[in-house]
Protein backbone atom coordinates (compact mmCIF):
# COMPACT_ATOMS: atom_id res chain seq x y z
CA UNK A 1 0.00 0.00 0.00
CA UNK A 2 1.33 3.41 -0.89
CA UNK A 3 0.22 5.94 1.74
CA UNK A 4 0.81 8.81 -0.70
CA UNK A 5 -1.69 7.41 -3.17
CA UNK A 6 -5.11 9.14 -3.28
CA UNK A 7 -7.74 7.44 -1.17
CA UNK A 8 -9.73 4.82 -2.98
CA UNK A 9 -7.93 5.31 -6.29
CA UNK A 10 -8.37 1.62 -6.89
CA UNK A 11 -6.62 -0.63 -9.34
CA UNK A 12 -7.13 -4.29 -9.96
CA UNK A 13 -4.47 -6.82 -10.77
CA UNK A 14 -5.76 -9.16 -13.45
CA UNK A 15 -2.39 -10.82 -13.92
CA UNK A 16 -2.34 -12.38 -10.51
CA UNK A 17 -2.50 -16.15 -10.74
CA UNK A 18 -5.17 -18.24 -9.06
CA UNK A 19 -3.52 -21.61 -9.29
CA UNK A 20 -4.08 -23.73 -6.24
CA UNK A 21 -2.35 -27.05 -6.13
CA UNK A 22 -4.56 -30.04 -6.86
CA UNK A 23 -4.05 -31.05 -3.26
CA UNK A 24 -5.39 -27.71 -1.97
CA UNK A 25 -8.37 -27.85 -4.33
CA UNK A 26 -9.24 -31.38 -3.24
CA UNK A 27 -8.90 -30.46 0.43
CA UNK A 28 -11.29 -27.51 0.08
CA UNK A 29 -13.83 -29.60 -1.81
CA UNK A 30 -13.74 -32.28 0.87
CA UNK A 31 -14.19 -29.63 3.56
CA UNK A 32 -17.15 -28.12 1.71
CA UNK A 33 -18.81 -31.51 1.17
CA UNK A 34 -18.41 -32.37 4.84
CA UNK A 35 -19.64 -28.97 6.02
CA UNK A 36 -22.73 -29.12 3.77
CA UNK A 37 -23.65 -32.60 4.99
CA UNK A 38 -23.30 -31.47 8.60
CA UNK A 39 -25.56 -28.43 8.09
CA UNK A 40 -28.12 -29.65 5.56
CA UNK A 41 -30.91 -30.40 8.03
CA UNK A 42 -30.99 -26.92 9.55
CA UNK A 43 -29.17 -24.41 7.36
CA UNK A 44 -31.94 -23.80 4.77
CA UNK A 45 -34.44 -23.21 7.62
CA UNK A 46 -32.10 -20.95 9.58
CA UNK A 47 -31.59 -18.67 6.60
CA UNK A 48 -35.20 -18.03 5.59
CA UNK A 49 -36.12 -14.39 5.00
CA UNK A 50 -39.76 -13.22 5.23
CA UNK A 51 -41.24 -12.56 1.82
CA UNK A 52 -41.05 -9.04 0.48
CA UNK A 53 -37.50 -7.85 1.11
CA UNK A 54 -35.76 -5.12 -0.89
Amino acid sequence: MNPQRPNGNAQVDLDREAEPTTETGQKVLLEIAEDARRLKNRYPKETVVPEGGE
Binding site: G8, N9, A18, E19, Y43, P44, E54
Partner: protein, 563 residues
Amino acid sequence: MLFGRLLGQETEYAIRFAPERRHPGNDVIYDALAGAIAARVKTEPGFYPERPQIFTENGGAFHYEYLPYCAEGGLIEGATPECRGPAQLLLYQKAQETLLSQAVSDAERTLRSSGFPGKLGLLKNCRDAFDHVYGAQESFQATIATGFPLSLYRLLLGGLLPLLAATVVLGWVVFIALAVLVLGAALLSTVAIALPPFRLFRTRSFFVRLVSREDRSLENALGRFLYALSYLVTLPFIASFSLLLRLLAFRRVRRRATAFLVSRPVISGAGSVTAGGEFVLSEKAPSIRRRLRFSISPNDRSIFDVGNLMKPALAAAHFHVAPMLALFRREQRLQLGLADSSMLQEAEFLKAGATALVLEMVEAGALDDAPRLKRPIQALHAFVSDPNLEAEAATDRGPMTALQIQRFYLEAARAFVREAKATSMEALQVTELWREVLGALERREMSSLVGRVDWVTKRYLLETCGDPRDEALLKTIDLRYHELKEGYAARLERSGCARRLVEETEIERATRFPPEGTPAFTRGRFIRDRERSLAPVRISWESARIGGRLHGRVVHFSRDGEG
Protein backbone atom coordinates in the same frame (compact mmCIF):
# COMPACT_ATOMS: atom_id res chain seq x y z
CA MET B 1 -13.69 10.25 -19.84
CA LEU B 2 -14.46 6.54 -19.54
CA PHE B 3 -15.76 5.50 -16.12
CA GLY B 4 -16.34 9.11 -15.08
CA ARG B 5 -19.89 8.40 -13.94
CA LEU B 6 -20.78 7.58 -10.35
CA LEU B 7 -21.78 4.03 -9.52
CA GLY B 8 -22.64 2.12 -6.38
CA GLN B 9 -24.33 -0.94 -4.95
CA GLU B 10 -26.88 -1.70 -2.29
CA THR B 11 -26.61 -5.21 -0.89
CA GLU B 12 -29.04 -6.91 1.42
CA TYR B 13 -27.61 -9.57 3.72
CA ALA B 14 -29.81 -12.32 5.09
CA ILE B 15 -29.22 -12.94 8.79
CA ARG B 16 -28.59 -16.46 10.01
CA PHE B 17 -28.82 -16.85 13.75
CA ALA B 18 -28.74 -20.32 15.25
CA PRO B 19 -29.81 -19.67 18.85
CA GLU B 20 -28.76 -21.83 21.74
CA ARG B 21 -31.90 -20.73 23.58
CA ARG B 22 -34.06 -18.05 21.93
CA HIS B 23 -33.89 -15.71 18.95
CA PRO B 24 -33.54 -12.02 19.79
CA GLY B 25 -35.07 -10.76 16.51
CA ASN B 26 -33.10 -9.42 13.58
CA ASP B 27 -33.57 -5.81 14.67
CA VAL B 28 -31.68 -6.58 17.87
CA ILE B 29 -28.98 -8.35 15.84
CA TYR B 30 -28.70 -5.27 13.60
CA ASP B 31 -28.15 -3.09 16.69
CA ALA B 32 -25.37 -5.42 17.84
CA LEU B 33 -23.73 -5.36 14.38
CA ALA B 34 -24.05 -1.57 14.06
CA GLY B 35 -22.48 -1.19 17.50
CA ALA B 36 -19.62 -3.49 16.49
CA ILE B 37 -19.01 -1.51 13.29
CA ALA B 38 -19.07 1.77 15.24
CA ALA B 39 -16.39 0.35 17.57
CA ARG B 40 -14.08 -0.22 14.59
CA VAL B 41 -14.65 2.85 12.40
CA LYS B 42 -16.16 6.30 12.91
CA THR B 43 -19.89 6.45 12.24
CA GLU B 44 -22.79 8.87 12.51
CA PRO B 45 -26.53 8.12 12.58
CA GLY B 46 -28.73 8.54 9.52
CA PHE B 47 -31.15 11.40 8.91
CA TYR B 48 -34.41 9.75 9.93
CA PRO B 49 -34.54 8.91 13.66
CA GLU B 50 -37.18 6.24 13.04
CA ARG B 51 -34.92 4.41 10.58
CA PRO B 52 -31.96 2.50 12.08
CA GLN B 53 -29.06 3.61 9.87
CA ILE B 54 -25.40 4.50 10.25
CA PHE B 55 -23.03 6.22 7.83
CA THR B 56 -19.38 5.22 8.04
CA GLU B 57 -16.24 7.28 7.59
CA ASN B 58 -15.60 5.78 4.14
CA GLY B 59 -18.86 7.41 2.95
CA GLY B 60 -20.92 4.22 2.85
CA ALA B 61 -23.88 3.23 5.01
CA PHE B 62 -25.65 0.35 6.74
CA HIS B 63 -29.26 0.15 7.77
CA TYR B 64 -31.85 -2.28 9.02
CA GLU B 65 -34.19 -3.14 6.15
CA TYR B 66 -37.34 -3.11 8.19
CA LEU B 67 -40.20 -5.25 6.92
CA PRO B 68 -43.39 -3.56 8.18
CA TYR B 69 -45.25 -6.85 8.54
CA CYS B 70 -42.35 -8.72 10.16
CA ALA B 71 -40.43 -6.26 12.32
CA GLU B 72 -38.16 -8.96 13.73
CA GLY B 73 -37.37 -10.58 10.36
CA GLY B 74 -35.65 -7.78 8.41
CA LEU B 75 -32.32 -7.76 6.62
CA ILE B 76 -29.06 -5.83 6.94
CA GLU B 77 -28.49 -3.55 3.98
CA GLY B 78 -25.08 -2.17 3.11
CA ALA B 79 -24.61 0.64 0.62
CA THR B 80 -21.20 1.34 -0.89
CA PRO B 81 -20.08 4.94 -1.14
CA GLU B 82 -20.50 6.46 -4.58
CA CYS B 83 -17.53 5.27 -6.66
CA ARG B 84 -16.00 6.00 -10.05
CA GLY B 85 -15.15 2.92 -12.05
CA PRO B 86 -15.53 -0.83 -11.39
CA ALA B 87 -12.17 -1.22 -9.59
CA GLN B 88 -13.17 1.33 -6.99
CA LEU B 89 -16.60 -0.23 -6.64
CA LEU B 90 -15.07 -3.68 -6.13
CA LEU B 91 -12.74 -2.26 -3.48
CA TYR B 92 -15.55 -0.59 -1.52
CA GLN B 93 -17.90 -3.54 -1.85
CA LYS B 94 -15.17 -5.74 -0.34
CA ALA B 95 -14.59 -3.09 2.35
CA GLN B 96 -18.28 -3.31 3.28
CA GLU B 97 -18.07 -7.12 3.50
CA THR B 98 -14.89 -6.87 5.59
CA LEU B 99 -16.57 -4.52 8.08
CA LEU B 100 -19.53 -6.86 8.40
CA SER B 101 -17.36 -9.98 8.68
CA GLN B 102 -15.31 -8.36 11.45
CA ALA B 103 -18.48 -7.19 13.21
CA VAL B 104 -20.05 -10.67 13.28
CA SER B 105 -17.84 -12.04 16.08
CA ASP B 106 -18.17 -8.88 18.18
CA ALA B 107 -21.95 -8.86 17.70
CA GLU B 108 -22.11 -12.52 18.73
CA ARG B 109 -20.37 -11.61 21.99
CA THR B 110 -22.76 -8.68 22.60
CA LEU B 111 -25.78 -10.89 21.98
CA ARG B 112 -24.42 -13.56 24.29
CA SER B 113 -23.94 -11.03 27.09
CA SER B 114 -27.54 -9.84 26.52
CA GLY B 115 -28.88 -13.35 27.03
CA PHE B 116 -28.97 -14.48 23.40
CA PRO B 117 -26.14 -16.96 22.88
CA GLY B 118 -25.95 -18.40 19.39
CA LYS B 119 -24.10 -18.60 16.10
CA LEU B 120 -24.41 -15.57 13.81
CA GLY B 121 -23.78 -15.43 10.06
CA LEU B 122 -24.55 -13.08 7.18
CA LEU B 123 -25.44 -14.25 3.68
CA LYS B 124 -24.80 -12.03 0.68
CA ASN B 125 -27.47 -13.66 -1.47
CA CYS B 126 -30.81 -12.91 -3.11
CA ARG B 127 -33.03 -16.00 -2.71
CA ASP B 128 -33.79 -18.23 0.26
CA ALA B 129 -34.90 -21.88 0.48
CA PHE B 130 -38.55 -20.86 -0.09
CA ASP B 131 -37.76 -18.76 -3.18
CA HIS B 132 -38.30 -15.49 -1.30
CA VAL B 133 -36.32 -12.87 -3.17
CA TYR B 134 -34.41 -9.84 -1.84
CA GLY B 135 -30.77 -8.90 -2.38
CA ALA B 136 -28.73 -6.52 -4.46
CA GLN B 137 -29.35 -3.44 -6.55
CA GLU B 138 -26.84 -1.64 -8.73
CA SER B 139 -26.88 2.11 -9.27
CA PHE B 140 -25.36 4.12 -12.10
CA GLN B 141 -25.40 7.84 -12.72
CA ALA B 142 -27.27 8.29 -16.02
CA THR B 143 -29.04 10.93 -18.07
CA ILE B 144 -32.77 10.65 -17.53
CA ALA B 145 -33.58 12.44 -20.81
CA THR B 146 -32.20 15.13 -23.09
CA GLY B 147 -33.63 17.91 -25.27
CA PHE B 148 -37.39 18.10 -25.67
CA PRO B 149 -38.11 14.88 -23.67
CA LEU B 150 -36.18 16.37 -20.72
CA SER B 151 -38.19 19.61 -20.89
CA LEU B 152 -41.41 17.61 -21.10
CA TYR B 153 -40.33 15.42 -18.16
CA ARG B 154 -39.67 18.49 -16.02
CA LEU B 155 -42.95 20.11 -17.07
CA LEU B 156 -45.02 17.03 -16.27
CA LEU B 157 -43.14 16.46 -13.00
CA GLY B 158 -44.01 20.04 -12.04
CA GLY B 159 -47.61 19.29 -12.96
CA LEU B 160 -47.62 16.39 -10.49
CA LEU B 161 -46.64 18.58 -7.52
CA PRO B 162 -50.27 19.50 -6.55
CA LEU B 163 -51.12 15.77 -6.55
CA LEU B 164 -48.06 15.11 -4.37
CA ALA B 165 -49.10 17.89 -1.98
CA ALA B 166 -52.62 16.41 -1.76
CA THR B 167 -51.09 12.97 -1.10
CA VAL B 168 -48.95 14.35 1.72
CA VAL B 169 -51.93 16.15 3.32
CA LEU B 170 -54.13 13.06 3.02
CA GLY B 171 -51.32 10.90 4.42
CA TRP B 172 -50.97 13.10 7.51
CA VAL B 173 -54.73 13.26 8.09
CA VAL B 174 -54.96 9.48 7.94
CA PHE B 175 -51.86 9.07 10.12
CA ILE B 176 -53.12 11.45 12.82
CA ALA B 177 -56.58 9.84 12.82
CA LEU B 178 -54.99 6.41 13.15
CA ALA B 179 -52.61 7.53 15.89
CA VAL B 180 -55.54 8.92 17.89
CA LEU B 181 -57.42 5.66 17.34
CA VAL B 182 -54.51 3.43 18.39
CA LEU B 183 -53.57 5.54 21.42
CA GLY B 184 -57.22 5.75 22.43
CA ALA B 185 -57.57 1.97 22.19
CA ALA B 186 -54.35 1.51 24.16
CA LEU B 187 -55.51 3.87 26.90
CA LEU B 188 -58.98 2.38 27.08
CA SER B 189 -57.71 -1.18 27.26
CA THR B 190 -55.17 -0.23 29.93
CA VAL B 191 -57.92 1.29 32.07
CA ALA B 192 -60.44 -1.43 31.24
CA ILE B 193 -58.32 -4.39 32.28
CA ALA B 194 -57.80 -2.77 35.67
CA LEU B 195 -61.58 -2.83 36.28
CA PRO B 196 -63.02 -5.73 38.30
CA PRO B 197 -65.03 -7.45 35.51
CA PHE B 198 -61.95 -7.77 33.27
CA ARG B 199 -59.28 -8.20 35.91
CA LEU B 200 -60.23 -11.82 36.30
CA PHE B 201 -59.24 -12.58 32.69
CA ARG B 202 -55.63 -11.51 33.41
CA THR B 203 -55.26 -10.22 29.83
CA ARG B 204 -52.47 -7.88 28.85
CA SER B 205 -53.39 -4.37 27.71
CA PHE B 206 -53.35 -3.42 24.04
CA PHE B 207 -50.45 -1.08 24.72
CA VAL B 208 -48.36 -3.75 26.45
CA ARG B 209 -48.99 -6.15 23.57
CA LEU B 210 -48.07 -3.46 21.03
CA VAL B 211 -44.64 -2.78 22.54
CA SER B 212 -43.92 -6.37 23.56
CA ARG B 213 -40.57 -7.75 22.36
CA GLU B 214 -41.68 -11.33 23.05
CA ASP B 215 -44.87 -11.45 21.03
CA ARG B 216 -44.75 -9.06 18.08
CA SER B 217 -47.93 -10.21 16.36
CA LEU B 218 -49.83 -7.01 17.14
CA GLU B 219 -46.94 -4.78 16.03
CA ASN B 220 -46.70 -6.76 12.79
CA ALA B 221 -50.45 -6.67 12.18
CA LEU B 222 -50.41 -2.90 12.63
CA GLY B 223 -47.38 -2.65 10.36
CA ARG B 224 -49.12 -4.68 7.67
CA PHE B 225 -52.20 -2.46 7.95
CA LEU B 226 -50.13 0.75 7.76
CA TYR B 227 -48.22 -0.58 4.79
CA ALA B 228 -51.44 -1.38 2.91
CA LEU B 229 -52.83 2.01 3.85
CA SER B 230 -49.75 3.92 2.66
CA TYR B 231 -49.87 1.92 -0.57
CA LEU B 232 -53.47 3.05 -1.15
CA VAL B 233 -52.89 6.68 -0.12
CA THR B 234 -49.87 7.10 -2.40
CA LEU B 235 -51.29 5.08 -5.28
CA PRO B 236 -52.68 8.00 -7.36
CA PHE B 237 -49.38 9.89 -7.20
CA ILE B 238 -47.17 6.83 -7.66
CA ALA B 239 -49.25 5.56 -10.60
CA SER B 240 -49.08 8.97 -12.31
CA PHE B 241 -45.36 9.33 -11.63
CA SER B 242 -44.74 5.78 -12.91
CA LEU B 243 -46.52 6.61 -16.14
CA LEU B 244 -44.36 9.69 -16.53
CA LEU B 245 -41.21 7.63 -15.97
CA ARG B 246 -42.40 4.94 -18.36
CA LEU B 247 -43.02 7.60 -20.99
CA LEU B 248 -39.81 9.62 -20.65
CA ALA B 249 -37.21 8.27 -18.21
CA PHE B 250 -34.00 6.58 -19.42
CA ARG B 251 -35.67 5.74 -22.73
CA ARG B 252 -32.39 5.49 -24.60
CA VAL B 253 -30.85 3.16 -22.02
CA ARG B 254 -33.97 1.02 -21.89
CA ARG B 255 -34.02 0.69 -25.67
CA ARG B 256 -30.30 0.02 -26.22
CA ALA B 257 -29.21 -1.78 -23.06
CA THR B 258 -32.11 -4.10 -22.24
CA ALA B 259 -30.74 -6.94 -24.39
CA PHE B 260 -27.37 -6.59 -22.64
CA LEU B 261 -28.93 -6.76 -19.18
CA VAL B 262 -31.22 -9.66 -20.07
CA SER B 263 -28.27 -11.71 -21.37
CA ARG B 264 -25.86 -10.52 -18.63
CA PRO B 265 -26.58 -13.38 -16.17
CA VAL B 266 -24.43 -15.67 -18.36
CA ILE B 267 -21.38 -13.70 -17.20
CA SER B 268 -22.58 -12.33 -13.86
CA GLY B 269 -25.35 -14.60 -12.52
CA ALA B 270 -24.87 -16.05 -9.03
CA GLY B 271 -26.70 -19.29 -9.89
CA SER B 272 -29.42 -20.78 -7.73
CA VAL B 273 -31.26 -23.99 -6.97
CA THR B 274 -34.97 -23.10 -6.98
CA ALA B 275 -37.46 -24.55 -4.48
CA GLY B 276 -38.44 -26.93 -7.29
CA GLY B 277 -34.85 -28.24 -7.51
CA GLU B 278 -34.04 -26.62 -10.86
CA PHE B 279 -30.64 -24.94 -11.37
CA VAL B 280 -30.95 -21.42 -12.82
CA LEU B 281 -28.17 -18.99 -13.74
CA SER B 282 -29.45 -16.16 -11.60
CA GLU B 283 -31.03 -15.75 -8.17
CA LYS B 284 -33.03 -12.66 -9.03
CA ALA B 285 -33.92 -13.13 -12.71
CA PRO B 286 -36.72 -15.71 -12.31
CA SER B 287 -38.64 -13.24 -10.12
CA ILE B 288 -38.41 -10.32 -12.57
CA ARG B 289 -41.88 -9.51 -13.90
CA ARG B 290 -41.56 -6.30 -15.87
CA ARG B 291 -39.08 -3.92 -17.49
CA LEU B 292 -39.87 -0.87 -15.34
CA ARG B 293 -41.20 -0.82 -11.79
CA PHE B 294 -44.76 0.41 -11.58
CA SER B 295 -45.47 0.61 -7.84
CA ILE B 296 -43.79 0.79 -4.43
CA SER B 297 -44.62 -2.86 -3.73
CA PRO B 298 -41.44 -4.89 -3.13
CA ASN B 299 -42.94 -7.71 -5.17
CA ASP B 300 -43.11 -5.52 -8.28
CA ARG B 301 -39.68 -6.68 -9.45
CA SER B 302 -38.30 -5.12 -12.58
CA ILE B 303 -35.13 -4.87 -14.66
CA PHE B 304 -35.05 -1.08 -14.23
CA ASP B 305 -36.06 -0.34 -10.67
CA VAL B 306 -37.25 3.26 -10.40
CA GLY B 307 -38.23 2.85 -6.74
CA ASN B 308 -35.22 5.06 -5.95
CA LEU B 309 -36.95 7.92 -7.81
CA MET B 310 -40.30 7.33 -6.08
CA LYS B 311 -38.84 7.47 -2.57
CA PRO B 312 -37.41 11.03 -2.86
CA ALA B 313 -40.79 12.28 -4.03
CA LEU B 314 -42.47 10.71 -1.00
CA ALA B 315 -39.84 12.23 1.31
CA ALA B 316 -42.03 15.34 1.05
CA ALA B 317 -44.25 13.63 3.61
CA HIS B 318 -41.42 14.24 6.12
CA PHE B 319 -41.24 17.90 4.99
CA HIS B 320 -38.02 17.26 3.06
CA VAL B 321 -38.42 18.94 -0.30
CA ALA B 322 -34.78 18.86 -1.44
CA PRO B 323 -34.94 15.20 -2.59
CA MET B 324 -38.07 16.01 -4.60
CA LEU B 325 -36.41 19.03 -6.22
CA ALA B 326 -33.41 16.85 -7.14
CA LEU B 327 -35.73 14.82 -9.39
CA PHE B 328 -35.72 17.76 -11.83
CA ARG B 329 -32.00 17.22 -12.52
CA ARG B 330 -30.85 15.81 -15.83
CA GLU B 331 -28.50 13.36 -14.17
CA GLN B 332 -30.24 10.77 -12.01
CA ARG B 333 -29.49 7.45 -10.40
CA LEU B 334 -30.42 4.57 -12.68
CA GLN B 335 -31.11 1.59 -10.45
CA LEU B 336 -31.02 -1.98 -11.71
CA GLY B 337 -33.27 -4.49 -10.00
CA LEU B 338 -31.98 -7.32 -12.17
CA ALA B 339 -28.80 -7.71 -10.14
CA ASP B 340 -27.37 -10.71 -8.34
CA SER B 341 -24.99 -10.48 -5.41
CA SER B 342 -21.58 -11.45 -6.78
CA MET B 343 -19.25 -13.35 -4.47
CA LEU B 344 -16.18 -13.66 -6.69
CA GLN B 345 -14.01 -10.63 -7.27
CA GLU B 346 -13.65 -11.15 -11.01
CA ALA B 347 -17.42 -11.48 -11.35
CA GLU B 348 -18.03 -8.28 -9.35
CA PHE B 349 -15.48 -6.33 -11.40
CA LEU B 350 -16.76 -7.61 -14.74
CA LYS B 351 -20.42 -7.04 -13.90
CA ALA B 352 -19.90 -3.41 -12.90
CA GLY B 353 -17.33 -2.67 -15.60
CA ALA B 354 -19.26 -4.13 -18.53
CA THR B 355 -22.48 -2.42 -17.43
CA ALA B 356 -20.80 0.95 -16.98
CA LEU B 357 -19.19 0.61 -20.41
CA VAL B 358 -22.54 -0.21 -22.04
CA LEU B 359 -24.07 2.89 -20.43
CA GLU B 360 -21.17 5.00 -21.73
CA MET B 361 -21.79 3.62 -25.21
CA VAL B 362 -25.54 4.21 -25.05
CA GLU B 363 -25.09 7.83 -24.04
CA ALA B 364 -22.40 8.34 -26.70
CA GLY B 365 -24.77 7.00 -29.37
CA ALA B 366 -22.48 4.04 -30.07
CA LEU B 367 -25.17 1.39 -29.62
CA ASP B 368 -27.91 2.62 -31.91
CA ASP B 369 -27.74 -0.70 -33.79
CA ALA B 370 -27.95 -2.87 -30.66
CA PRO B 371 -30.28 -5.88 -30.89
CA ARG B 372 -33.74 -5.37 -29.44
CA LEU B 373 -35.57 -8.22 -27.77
CA LYS B 374 -39.19 -8.68 -28.79
CA ARG B 375 -40.26 -10.06 -25.39
CA PRO B 376 -37.50 -9.21 -22.88
CA ILE B 377 -39.01 -10.85 -19.79
CA GLN B 378 -39.71 -14.14 -21.55
CA ALA B 379 -36.21 -14.00 -23.01
CA LEU B 380 -34.72 -13.43 -19.56
CA HIS B 381 -36.54 -16.40 -18.08
CA ALA B 382 -35.54 -18.61 -21.03
CA PHE B 383 -31.87 -17.60 -20.81
CA VAL B 384 -31.49 -18.16 -17.08
CA SER B 385 -33.32 -21.50 -17.14
CA ASP B 386 -30.81 -22.98 -19.56
CA PRO B 387 -27.34 -23.66 -18.08
CA ASN B 388 -26.38 -25.19 -21.45
CA LEU B 389 -26.61 -21.67 -22.88
CA GLU B 390 -28.47 -22.77 -26.01
CA ALA B 391 -31.82 -21.00 -25.44
CA GLU B 392 -32.72 -18.47 -28.11
CA ALA B 393 -34.91 -15.39 -27.93
CA ALA B 394 -36.58 -13.40 -30.69
CA THR B 395 -34.84 -10.12 -31.53
CA ASP B 396 -35.18 -7.62 -34.37
CA ARG B 397 -32.20 -9.47 -35.92
CA GLY B 398 -33.81 -12.89 -35.62
CA PRO B 399 -33.33 -15.50 -32.87
CA MET B 400 -30.23 -14.96 -30.73
CA THR B 401 -28.71 -16.78 -27.75
CA ALA B 402 -27.54 -14.92 -24.66
CA LEU B 403 -23.94 -15.57 -25.72
CA GLN B 404 -24.54 -14.07 -29.17
CA ILE B 405 -26.05 -10.96 -27.61
CA GLN B 406 -23.13 -10.64 -25.21
CA ARG B 407 -20.72 -11.08 -28.13
CA PHE B 408 -22.38 -8.17 -29.94
CA TYR B 409 -21.99 -5.88 -26.93
CA LEU B 410 -18.43 -7.02 -26.23
CA GLU B 411 -17.25 -6.29 -29.79
CA ALA B 412 -18.97 -2.90 -29.70
CA ALA B 413 -17.28 -2.17 -26.36
CA ARG B 414 -13.83 -3.19 -27.62
CA ALA B 415 -14.18 -0.86 -30.61
CA PHE B 416 -15.47 1.91 -28.36
CA VAL B 417 -12.56 1.61 -25.92
CA ARG B 418 -10.03 1.38 -28.78
CA GLU B 419 -11.36 4.55 -30.38
CA ALA B 420 -11.75 6.52 -27.14
CA LYS B 421 -9.85 9.83 -27.08
CA ALA B 422 -8.07 8.93 -23.84
CA THR B 423 -6.89 5.39 -23.23
CA SER B 424 -8.31 3.85 -20.07
CA MET B 425 -6.38 0.93 -18.60
CA GLU B 426 -9.39 0.05 -16.50
CA ALA B 427 -11.66 -0.12 -19.56
CA LEU B 428 -9.09 -2.28 -21.35
CA GLN B 429 -9.01 -4.61 -18.34
CA VAL B 430 -12.80 -4.87 -18.41
CA THR B 431 -12.97 -5.72 -22.12
CA GLU B 432 -10.11 -8.18 -21.81
CA LEU B 433 -11.74 -9.99 -18.91
CA TRP B 434 -15.10 -9.92 -20.72
CA ARG B 435 -13.43 -11.44 -23.81
CA GLU B 436 -11.76 -14.20 -21.77
CA VAL B 437 -14.94 -15.15 -19.91
CA LEU B 438 -17.23 -15.00 -22.94
CA GLY B 439 -14.76 -16.97 -25.05
CA ALA B 440 -14.57 -19.72 -22.43
CA LEU B 441 -18.37 -19.88 -22.24
CA GLU B 442 -18.65 -20.08 -26.03
CA ARG B 443 -16.13 -22.93 -26.10
CA ARG B 444 -17.88 -24.53 -23.08
CA GLU B 445 -14.58 -24.56 -21.18
CA MET B 446 -16.45 -24.41 -17.89
CA SER B 447 -13.65 -25.75 -15.71
CA SER B 448 -11.55 -22.69 -16.58
CA LEU B 449 -14.29 -20.47 -15.12
CA VAL B 450 -14.51 -22.12 -11.71
CA GLY B 451 -13.48 -19.46 -9.20
CA ARG B 452 -14.17 -16.73 -11.76
CA VAL B 453 -17.90 -16.85 -12.67
CA ASP B 454 -20.27 -17.38 -9.75
CA TRP B 455 -22.94 -19.56 -11.39
CA VAL B 456 -20.30 -21.83 -12.96
CA THR B 457 -18.49 -22.16 -9.62
CA LYS B 458 -21.67 -22.88 -7.68
CA ARG B 459 -22.78 -25.46 -10.22
CA TYR B 460 -19.36 -27.13 -9.98
CA LEU B 461 -19.69 -27.34 -6.18
CA LEU B 462 -23.23 -28.71 -6.47
CA GLU B 463 -22.01 -31.43 -8.83
CA THR B 464 -18.82 -32.20 -6.91
CA CYS B 465 -19.98 -31.92 -3.29
CA GLY B 466 -23.73 -32.52 -3.66
CA ASP B 467 -26.02 -35.40 -4.41
CA PRO B 468 -28.77 -34.87 -7.04
CA ARG B 469 -31.22 -36.90 -4.92
CA ASP B 470 -30.63 -34.85 -1.79
CA GLU B 471 -32.41 -31.51 -2.21
CA ALA B 472 -31.56 -30.28 1.30
CA LEU B 473 -27.87 -30.84 0.63
CA LEU B 474 -28.03 -28.99 -2.70
CA LYS B 475 -29.86 -26.05 -1.15
CA THR B 476 -27.36 -25.91 1.70
CA ILE B 477 -24.47 -25.69 -0.78
CA ASP B 478 -26.39 -23.04 -2.75
CA LEU B 479 -26.99 -20.90 0.35
CA ARG B 480 -23.76 -21.48 2.26
CA TYR B 481 -21.81 -20.43 -0.86
CA HIS B 482 -22.89 -16.85 -0.02
CA GLU B 483 -22.04 -16.63 3.68
CA LEU B 484 -19.44 -14.04 4.58
CA LYS B 485 -16.25 -15.41 6.12
CA GLU B 486 -17.24 -19.08 6.50
CA GLY B 487 -19.08 -19.50 3.18
CA TYR B 488 -17.81 -21.61 0.29
CA ALA B 489 -16.92 -18.72 -2.03
CA ALA B 490 -14.85 -17.23 0.81
CA ARG B 491 -13.13 -20.60 1.37
CA LEU B 492 -12.31 -20.91 -2.33
CA GLU B 493 -10.80 -17.44 -2.25
CA ARG B 494 -8.75 -18.09 0.88
CA SER B 495 -7.37 -21.34 -0.58
CA GLY B 496 -6.30 -19.61 -3.80
CA CYS B 497 -8.96 -21.35 -5.94
CA ALA B 498 -10.57 -17.97 -6.72
CA ARG B 499 -8.54 -14.97 -7.81
CA ARG B 500 -8.31 -11.83 -5.67
CA LEU B 501 -8.05 -8.63 -7.71
CA VAL B 502 -7.56 -6.20 -4.83
CA GLU B 503 -5.09 -6.35 -1.94
CA GLU B 504 -6.26 -7.01 1.61
CA THR B 505 -4.37 -3.91 2.78
CA GLU B 506 -6.23 -1.77 0.21
CA ILE B 507 -9.55 -3.20 1.37
CA GLU B 508 -8.70 -2.52 4.99
CA ARG B 509 -7.81 1.06 4.10
CA ALA B 510 -11.08 1.46 2.16
CA THR B 511 -13.04 0.66 5.32
CA ARG B 512 -11.81 3.97 6.73
CA PHE B 513 -11.12 6.33 3.81
CA PRO B 514 -13.71 7.52 1.26
CA PRO B 515 -13.11 7.52 -2.50
CA GLU B 516 -11.85 10.88 -3.79
CA GLY B 517 -13.72 13.00 -6.31
CA THR B 518 -17.12 11.73 -5.25
CA PRO B 519 -19.90 12.98 -2.95
CA ALA B 520 -18.80 10.21 -0.59
CA PHE B 521 -15.48 12.00 -0.10
CA THR B 522 -16.99 15.06 1.60
CA ARG B 523 -19.44 12.88 3.53
CA GLY B 524 -16.69 10.56 4.72
CA ARG B 525 -14.32 13.40 5.55
CA PHE B 526 -17.06 15.14 7.51
CA ILE B 527 -17.59 12.00 9.61
CA ARG B 528 -13.83 11.45 10.06
CA ASP B 529 -12.98 15.00 11.07
CA ARG B 530 -15.93 15.84 13.31
CA GLU B 531 -15.27 16.44 16.98
CA ARG B 532 -17.28 13.84 18.90
CA SER B 533 -18.19 16.26 21.67
CA LEU B 534 -20.05 18.72 19.43
CA ALA B 535 -23.80 18.90 18.83
CA PRO B 536 -25.55 15.75 17.58
CA VAL B 537 -25.36 15.12 13.86
CA ARG B 538 -27.61 13.27 11.45
CA ILE B 539 -26.33 12.32 8.01
CA SER B 540 -28.06 11.73 4.69
CA TRP B 541 -26.58 10.98 1.29
CA GLU B 542 -26.76 14.68 0.38
CA SER B 543 -26.23 16.57 3.63
CA ALA B 544 -25.58 16.63 7.36
CA ARG B 545 -27.73 18.33 9.96
CA ILE B 546 -25.79 19.61 12.94
CA GLY B 547 -27.93 20.24 16.00
CA GLY B 548 -31.68 19.86 16.41
CA ARG B 549 -34.29 19.76 13.71
CA LEU B 550 -35.63 23.25 14.38
CA HIS B 551 -32.47 25.18 15.22
CA GLY B 552 -29.85 23.00 13.58
CA ARG B 553 -27.57 23.87 10.70
CA VAL B 554 -27.56 21.91 7.43
CA VAL B 555 -24.32 21.30 5.52
CA HIS B 556 -24.68 20.08 1.94
CA PHE B 557 -22.05 17.69 0.60
CA SER B 558 -20.34 18.63 -2.65
CA ARG B 559 -21.37 16.37 -5.54
CA ASP B 560 -17.85 16.22 -6.93
CA GLY B 561 -16.16 15.63 -3.59
CA GLU B 562 -14.49 19.03 -3.40
CA GLY B 563 -14.77 21.74 -0.76
